[in-house]
């Protein structure tokens, strides 16, 4: 099922997520598993911070020379017997995939995990053309048979319980005995393995994403743990790689740096179980491998992002650490963000790809605690980029009128110290007086958003500015 854009309904989505007990259980586990595992893996490698700097520099250098690296990459892919296709829009990318499938008379297509395929809603287009896509990553397979969508870019089915998955397997795998025991996650995995094994061996075309593309050698790389991506790309007649243009890196040495930060930040691994480097189709004498090798490079607005203040987001290597460490993602999960990319990454990238007018809530769904930037392996200043979107939202008059006028009134007040200081001093005193001995308010006009859930503490003593002045005087009499 493709992802329908529901970012404009973020608030409703978030409320529903907060009431979803199963989701809340999964989210608590992310905070423990992914966060702790990352921290342990990072602690084991003294060079980690230096690697992050280097990783950032590699991506910055590549983005600044992206046109030339794309040309170099393309030459090497051709040399190896592969083909590179460019796609400006998702529709164009889907059309290229479908043309290849039709030419090869493909009926069944296996798919490794690809966020770009989610971005283009490829499965819908394959189905509409009479081609059956089969997701082979366990998480994606579960989502496909449920008609569900990913809620995390690394762990797509993280919002589901094993009971839900068991019910889906019983519903869909009808030819298996109803009396079988599926209580343990291991038995669910074994069943998926057996079911998908047959599909791997009969699929006509295999589609994967790419974590990186190497200009030096014309190589595409996938970093995975299950091995489904490798079976997907090795067994069929053709391997199609769906990637976005910013996946380029110059050399194999550069990739080595990036995989050292990717595995650790994504899941606390030294490296993923399988890191696979693919260069062109089956060669003369090869006993296996795909007969054709295609790379589809999707732009979908990224080339324009290079121009402005959002270029930094193109460094992203999709590790998911920003969402794992985000208190907002941790409260509402991935679906609430309403499109392919959740969390802080989504809050910056979604407005860029679908328009700020469709995703204005996302950059506002932040506490600006800064943890995402703290853990980002390529040091993307995510809070700063979210602030840029807020500014744009304000400038383009997309924020609601009370917010706009409120902010304007506040600005008029805050930029005039001669008015601000005495007024706040007075207000503090008045509030303290009104609160009386209780020292807090159960209800306060204009602050109902706060007092509906908790008391508002009354100010105690002088304003910050007054205290600061006094402290300075004490320090330097």
């Amino acid at each position: 099922m493709s992802i329908e854009l529901t970012s404009p309904r973020f608030k409703e989505n978030a409320h529903a997520a907060l009431d979803n007990a199963q989701l809340q259980k999964s989210l608590v586990r992310i905070g423990v598993n992914y966060v702790v595992r990352r921290r342990l893996a990072v602690a084991r490698l003294p060079e980690f911070e230096a690697l992050r700097d280097r990783a950032r520099d590699i991506k910055d250098h590549t983005l600044a020379h992206l046109d030339l690296y794309l040309e170099a990459y393309e030459r090497k892919v051709k040399e190896a017997g592969g083909r590179v296709h460019y796609a400006v829009t998702p529709a164009e990318a889907n059309k290229i995939v479908i043309d290849i499938c039709k030419r090869l008379k493909a009926k069944v297509v296996t798919k490794g995990k690809s966020m770009i395929a989610e971005e283009t809603a490829l499965n819908d287009h394959l189905l509409a053309n009479g081609i059956e896509p089969v997701e082979t990553d366990l998480g994606e397979y579960i989502l496909q048979i449920r008609g569900d969508t990913p809620s995390h870019i690394v762990a797509p089915a993280v919002h589901l319980s094993k009971a839900e998955i068991e019910a889906d397997f019983r519903r869909v795998h009808r030819n298996l005995p109803a009396s079988r025991n599926l209580e343990e996650p291991a038995s669910l995995l074994a069943e998926a393995r057996a079911v998908l094994r047959k599909t791997f061996l009969t699929a006509d075309v295999g589609i994967t994403g790419a974590n990186f593309l190497v200009a030096e050698t014309g190589t595409s790389i996938i970093c995975t743990n299950e091995g489904n991506g490798d079976l997907t790309q090795t067994l069929p007649k053709a391997h199609i790689v769906l990637a976005s243009i910013e996946k380029l890196v110059p050399t194999l040495e550069d990739v080595s740096t990036l995989i050292r930060v990717l595995g650790r930040t994504a899941a606390g691994q030294e490296i993923t179980v399988y890191t696979t480097f693919s260069t062109g189709p089956r060669r003369r004498g090869d006993p296996d491998g795909p007969g054709e090798y295609h790379v589809i490079l999707l732009d979908n607005g990224r080339s324009a992002l290079l121009a402005g203040q959002f270029r930094d987001i193109l460094r992203c290597i999709r590790c998911g650490a920003c969402m794992n460490h985000c208190p907002v993602y941790g409260a509402v999960g991935g679906h609430a963000y309403g499109w392919v990319y959740p969390g802080p990454l989504g809050a910056v990238l979604t407005p860029a790809l679908v328009g700020i007018e469709n995703a204005a809530h996302l950059p506002n769904a932040s506490t600006f605690c800064g943890r995402c930037e703290e853990v980002c392996p390529v040091r993307i200043p995510l809070p700063k980029l979210m602030r840029h979107w807020r500014e744009q939202e304000f400038q383009r008059h997309l924020s609601p009128a009370p917010v706009r006028y409120g902010l304007k009134a506040w600005a008029a007040f805050a930029t005039r110290p001669w008015l601000y200081r005495p007024a706040t001093r007075l207000a503090m005193k008045a509030l303290a007086l009104l609160a009386g001995k209780r020292g807090r308010f159960r209800f306060l006009p204009l602050a109902r958003g706060w007092t509906r859930y908790r008391d508002f503490p009354a100010p105690e003593g002088a304003t910050f500015q007054a205290q600061w002045k006094r402290a300075l005087k004490r320090a330097r009499p």
Partner: protein, 225 residues
């Protein structure tokens, strides 16, 4: 205008370049030509013996198993022992690698050895690694008739032979060795870095072994480093 022209054109407009600047072209050429090393963890920069030890520890930490074998003529017995220990039939499949062909499999009379790529019905495959990396306990396998890629993923049990002398400290050393074999900028169709048996954490974040690839990965380190 083709999609290619649109994409490259937009990139150049965004960057404020036309693609013909000699300084930029030189920078890209130099970067690719020099393929300079970045930050290489010191962890792997140890004596050859310590590298073998580190490789074994890292591999075992991700649930691979490792045995040391003195020489190639000892491999059949070590393989037979693994098969017996795991209640597996005495059948293996391997590729046309001369090093694998030269192994005296007949010493283990009961062992059935077939050659070629897998079609998905083999329980046990034996491959020869091009190299290994101590830093992360990673095996490096190359595609081709010698060691077909299907053997790395379809069988339930994957046994991989690696020469102790081929265990490098880091990935960068392996890239240099690969350039010696395939030329600068050249690559085999597939390079597989394999670090443990296949696994998944997609059901309630519980780590399980044996997702779609091998359920077990067993490494035989041959000889002295």
């Amino acid at each position: 205008m083709s999609d290619r022209d649109v994409v490259l054109g937009t990139i150049r407009r965004s960057l404020g370049v036309d693609g013909h600047e000699p300084a930029r072209q030189l920078a890209v050429k130099a970067r690719i030509g020099q393929h300079a090393r970045g930050i290489v963890p010191k962890r792997g920069d140890v004596t050859p013996a310590a590298r073998v030890k580190l490789f074994s520890e890292m591999m075992q930490a991700v649930h691979g198993t490792v045995v040391r074998v003195p020489a190639y003529e000892d491999v059949p017995a070590a393989v037979a022992e693994y098969l017996r220990g795991n209640n597996l039939p005495a059948e293996i499949r391997h590729g046309a690698d001369p090093r694998l062909r030269a192994i005296p499999w007949r010493n283990e009379g009961a062992l059935d050895v077939v050659e070629g790529a897998s079609r998905g019905n083999d329980l046990t495959a034996v491959s020869h690694a091009f190299a290994a990396v101590a830093e992360s306990g990673t095996l490096v396998l190359l595609s081709g008739v010698d060691n077909p890629t299907t053997l790395n993923f379809l069988p339930d049990h994957h046994l991989v032979i690696v020469d102790a002398a081929d265990i490098a400290g880091d990935y960068e050393t392996v890239w240099d060795r690969l350039r010696e074999v395939y030329g600068v900028g050249g690559m085999p169709r597939t390079v597989n870095f394999i670090t443990g048996p296949s696994r998944s954490g997609d059901i309630e974040q519980v780590h399980l072994l044996g997702a779609h690839g091998p359920r077990s990965l067993h490494v035989l380190v041959v000889g002295k480093p």
